[in-house]
Symmetry: C2
Subunit: 255 residues, 2 copies
């Protein structure tokens, strides 16, 4: 079984070697640059859940790449001038800043379509259903955010950030054919991981929860989410060592 | 068997009653307004192929709506100021002109995701694969168009317009479980229908082929595409009366 860092590297290497569909040939370089430099948390989580359930990472890899591509799609569109107007991303020019707005709109669309192509490489349509359902929630959350019509930050984060973490776990459950009745504990785990990720993000960026409730309270909430995530793992009858390692790394991350 | 106009009405009514996923609640009105007023050619084509193959329209309807939603998604993004900068669409303000650019970006994303949710309502992942594959081609074609890197208009149209017509037919073949060996004739038909649609569009708008080769030559090419489409239908061993009617309506349309 690979450790958490090895799983991240596996996702990162596969993304670096990833060749988009031939029909997107003009957008190859844009797509490649748009996925560069991420932390690969969502992809590694998908692989780690699959490995905990006794599956090979190779079997999970298309789903892990798919969730990373949906994440990249959301960043490319969110960075646009009309939305968050971010000219930099991961220390480099964001996609629209480097290639122009028109290309960034199309590159985001292409990343989403490619994610679906990967999720549809499985025999079961359930894998792609998990991803589409999560993406709908993410888009809905982003709309609530820019329109200012949702004032409960936790609800907003469950949509904007949480749903994609749910998909990371949910796709692995689908691939490993975990029966529906056994999925609730996994869902409880993914919900806490999504909350933990966002809370630490807010702490590091000084916005969201940290801006609203202060760093100390946000740290407390993050630690509680990590604790709940570990408690959910402890209830699962499989080797969750790597998942524990992932949770601890998310709780203590500094970037 | 319903005639072509009845099939269009069926698609139009279903789109008018269509309720997006609950997570998109804030975007409901935007999504509804973005799908209003189309000709429903792609959806009706999907239903007509299904009916020719002995299937009920109701079984085909999710796929027919899905292809219309992908079409609407492409229009919402293409109309954006950074792309075609169209402030009107179907005689009304385009989505960005009415709701702002940020909302239009997200509404396009939402329409695409909803299309996939519908295509994934079938047991076979093949239906959604057809749609995703076509969408990849469409996005790739749109990129070649805005970047000016493809100078062959017919190749460009095959991607930008043709691929979605292929999906209308291809999804119906998949739902009706037509064996792969019997699909080539249907593919030949859909290719001609896509070309016919675009050529008549160019004639009506005075751009594309009409601007490059003149109205007379474009009319000649459109008539040839209609003839080839009808010839492809004549080779199929099923009742293609409604499909012939659709082709003739496309050839003679004035709007």
């Amino acid at each position: 079984m690979r450790n958490a860092d090895e799983l991240r590297s596996l996702v990162d290497d596969a993304l670096a070697e990833y060749v988009p569909h031939a029909d997107l040939r003009g957008l190859d370089a844009v797509v490649a640059s748009s996925v560069e430099g991420g932390k690969r948390v969502r992809g590694a989580l998908c692989l780690a859940v699959g490995e905990a359930l006794g599956r090979e990472s190779e079997e999970l890899l298309p789903a892990a790449l798919a969730v990373e591509l949906v994440h990249a799609f959301s960043l490319v569109h969110d960075d646009l001038p009309a939305l968050d107007n971010d000219a930099t991303r991961r220390g480099r020019p964001s996609t629209w800043a480097e290639y122009g707005e028109a290309v960034a709109v199309l590159a985001g669309d292409a990343l989403f379509a490619e994610a679906l192509r990967l999720a549809l490489s499985y025999d079961s349509p359930g894998v792609a259903r998990e991803l589409v359902d999560a993406t709908l929630g993410m888009i809905g959350g982003q709309y609530l955010d820019i329109s200012g019509s949702e004032h409960d930050l936790a609800s907003l984060n469950r949509l904007k950030t949480g749903r994609l973490f749910d998909a990371s776990v949910g796709m692995a459950l689908e691939i490993a054919r975990v029966p529906e009745r056994d999925r609730a504990r996994w869902r409880a785990f993914s919900e806490q991981v999504g909350a933990l990720f966002q809370l630490v993000d807010d702490l590091l960026d000084g916005d969201g929860f940290a801006a609203m409730y202060g760093a100390e309270e946000t740290r407390r909430l993050a630690d509680a989410a990590a604790e709940h995530a570990l408690a959910a793992l402890a209830e699962l009858a499989c080797d969750t060592g790597v998942l524990r390692e992932l949770v601890e790394a998310l709780a203590s991350r500094t970037a």
